[in-house]
């Protein structure tokens, strides 16, 4: 009787591994902090355990060797080579009119837009493999369609369709794997839209993009070249930009048990502009050498960190963590993290050009962030619980100082643009956060997880680009039937967040509930999976999470995947 009761419980309280539509849209399935998104090219993502007022995408780290740099943010790269297999996905924002359009002419809710993906990667043949992938997510695109069409005067901005999707990308390539290393060359073409600090959406066409990668346990190398076309037919503007990105990192990244690990590397980026390209990089190039370390003098004690510097910027991040056990099931952690630097992202653009104005995206001085935390955890064979508390202080936090706002109209919608410069908050900001989580499971059939957190931040809040959410709750449950049929749900709630500097008056993103669900029919004997996923089913349809962004609508997509 007891298992049966649990079965009901877990069938109702659902889930864990819900996929997002594509790289860059992971924020749609995360509930543990502030996640405000408007498509695959722009997200404000700040887990509540991070500390500081910036989003994770804004921050450079040595591990982000292959992420895309869009303006001054890092975005996960859809060119990360997938495991060997063949896959197909299609989906849509829910709520197209379909036959209803005949009886509801003039219903002004707007079109709903699809996502699609197709790709394959062959198994290794004497180490060699071939891959190709096309992926495009049109979600979030319709509410700004008219404005973006007016501004660039062209519909031809996607590999497929006419919805002006924020990301449309295709590549093909070959690779060679050994048991210890992998190398690949990829080439393709893509369209995407960059969200400027000005608030404009700027279209870029990479024709082509080429990427080389080499990875083994100690050496990680990535090089890419993009020939970017910036074209605005309505304004009669056109420009070409060649971008070269190189990263080299020498650091152990798997099976690294040595008590002392040292690494070095550099990140290099250069551009060559002609015509109107909207963005600028000082000296047209930037190189950022860095060194990193992990020291474990005793089993429970770990020091780690990195430091990087160049002619303009420097950055140091370090941490000390002490793990201690109390009894058989209690695992605790105590630590401090420091983050100091003259820029969150030394690799990003330095200028955005907006008509006669130039927005300066760097500033003087430096930021310092110190975070002290204590995690208390209980782990037993069927139950895991934890309480995580932290306090942090930050001075010199990067923010934006708007000079002026402009409003543009397109149809019924109004959009806010701004000019100004990146600046700093030269006073202390103080934060305190607490989080509790519980996870329990029954064999491999059910798991249930609950998490909630809150964070109190004091300081010059009205100068924060985004005031993070103060409270959030997440409930996950998974039910796996005989190891083959998966039902996963995730419910989460977050409180209000506010954009203070993108619009004349603060743009408040009202809090609310989200419901994500995934059903998956698996065929482990054939490495085959059929998955249907619904995202943001409880969301109010007219919610916009980012100023000048699109509606966060309920969306459904299904995916068939055969792994080799």
């Amino acid at each position: 009787m007891k298992p049966f009761f649990l079965m009901i419980l877990f069938a109702v309280f659902a889930f864990a591994e819900i996929p997002a539509e594509m790289e860059g849209m992971e924020a749609g399935v995360l509930g543990n902090g502030t996640y405000l998104t408007t498509g695959p090219t722009y997200t404000f993502d700040r887990p509540s355990r991070q500390g500081g007022i910036h989003s994770a995408s804004e921050e450079w780290t040595p591990g982000k060797t292959r992420d895309r740099i869009l303006l001054n943010r890092f975005v996960p790269n859809s060119w990360n080579v997938q495991p060997a297999g063949v896959w197909l996905a299609t989906g849509n924002e829910v709520g197209d009119l379909m036959y209803q359009s005949i009886i509801n002419q003039g219903y002004g809710e707007g079109n709903r837009t699809p996502m699609m993906e197709v790709g394959f990667r062959t198994p290794n043949y004497k180490g060699f493999w071939v891959t190709a992938r096309f992926i495009q997510a049109d979600h979030f695109s319709t509410s700004t369609l008219r404005w973006r069409d007016d501004w660039i005067g062209d519909w031809d901005y996607a590999l497929f369709g006419e919805n002006l999707p924020f990301m449309s990308s295709a590549y093909a390539g070959i690779g060679y794997d050994t048991p210890f290393s992998s190398a690949s060359i990829l080439a393709g073409t893509e369209y995407y839209w960059v969200y400027g600090e000005s608030g404009r959406w700027i279209p870029v066409h990479n024709e082509p993009r080429v990427e080389w990668n080499f990875n083994d346990r100690l050496l990680h190398f990535s090089y890419n070249w993009e020939k970017q076309l910036y074209q605005n037919k309505a304004e009669n503007e056109k420009g070409w930009r060649s971008v070269w990105n190189t990263t080299l990192r020498l650091m152990c990244d798997r099976d690294c048990d040595d008590p002392l690990l040292l690494g070095v590397g550099f990140h290099y980026r250069s551009v060559k502009d002609s015509g109107t390209t909207y963005f600028g990089l000082r000296d047209n190039r930037v190189i950022f050498p860095f060194a990193e370390f992990v020291i474990r003098p005793l089993q429970p004690l770990e020091f780690s960190g990195f430091a990087g510097w160049n002619q303009h910027d420097w950055m140091v991040k370090d941490s000390v963590e002490l793990r201690f056990e109390a009894g058989e099931f209690v695992r605790n952690k105590f630590g401090i993290k420091n983050h100091l630097g003259s820029s969150l992202n030394p690799m990003g653009e330095d200028y955005e050009f907006f008509g006669e104005d130039t927005l300066r995206l760097f500033t003087d001085g430096y930021m310092q962030l110190h975070r002290l935390y204590l995690d208390v955890g209980y782990v037993s064979p069927r139950l895991k619980m934890g309480i995580h508390t932290a306090g942090w202080i930050e001075k010199g936090a990067e923010t934006f100082e708007p000079d002026a706002f402009h409003t543009v109209s397109a149809g019924r919608e109004k959009y806010s643009l701004r000019t100004g410069n990146v600046s700093r908050i030269d006073s202390w900001i103080r934060g305190f956060s607490a989080e509790a989580d519980v996870k329990l499971w029954y064999r491999e059939m059910f798991s249930f997880g609950g998490r909630f957190g809150f964070e109190r931040i004091d300081g010059a809040r009205k100068r924060f680009e985004v005031e993070p959410v103060e409270k959030w709750v997440q409930l996950d449950a998974s039910w796996i039937f005989k190891g083959v049929f998966h039902i996963d749900h995730s419910w989460f709630y977050r409180s209000d967040a506010a954009w203070n500097l993108r619009t004349e008056e603060p743009f408040v993103v009202k809090g609310g509930w989200f419901w994500n669900m995934s059903l998956s029919q698996r065929f482990p004997e054939y490495n085959l999976a059929l998955t249907g996923t619904i995202l943001h089913a409880l969301t109010e349809d007219d919610k916009i999470q980012v100023p000048n962004g699109g509606y966060d609508r309920t969306r459904f997509f299904c995916r068939i995947q055969k792994m080799f």
Binding site: L97, M98, Y99, E109, K482, G483, I487, Q521, Y526, F556
Partner: protein, 188 residues
Amino acid sequence: MKKIFGILFLFPLWVSAQEINLEEKAFSSVRLAGEAGFIYPLGDLRDAIENSYYGLAEFRYRYRGSFWGFLQFGYSYVRTHDWVEFPGVHQFNGRVGLDVSAEWIRPLRFGGGFSCVWLRADGTDKEVENTELSSNESEFGWFARADLPILILENYQAGVRLYGEQIWSLPEASTSIWFGIYVERRLW
């Protein structure tokens, strides 16, 4: 759409009552079927479109125990009422789902899953200039079905199927009933 979630909560209870052989492999039996029948739109849709015929092909496979999976692809030409500017709509539909049966109701099977519908208006450029359906439109939804085999031979089955389908359109969901006859060939 919320109804689907209610059904999904009950589904695990139903599933938990089933006996499954863990050693069994999927695709131990595979069937191919042709199906034809009528679509009856419900609600407001009756003001816009007429009842229509459909045809579809189904690929059905044994998944685990008494659970069968299926994939469908079909076409229907849906006539509009006379007051509509264009005469009809090309409708393609796809479905993916699971059927299940229990000893006490056999051979009746019940199932459900997700649907996808693609529409494009049929008519001259002038006739379709004011409709969103002048370009390809697609939307997803869900369905439930009952399947009653009437003639069961070693390699063939014939029977009838009844579907209730809801497409997640706005401002209202689009609901329809499908009724069809099928002939199925066992491949292995």
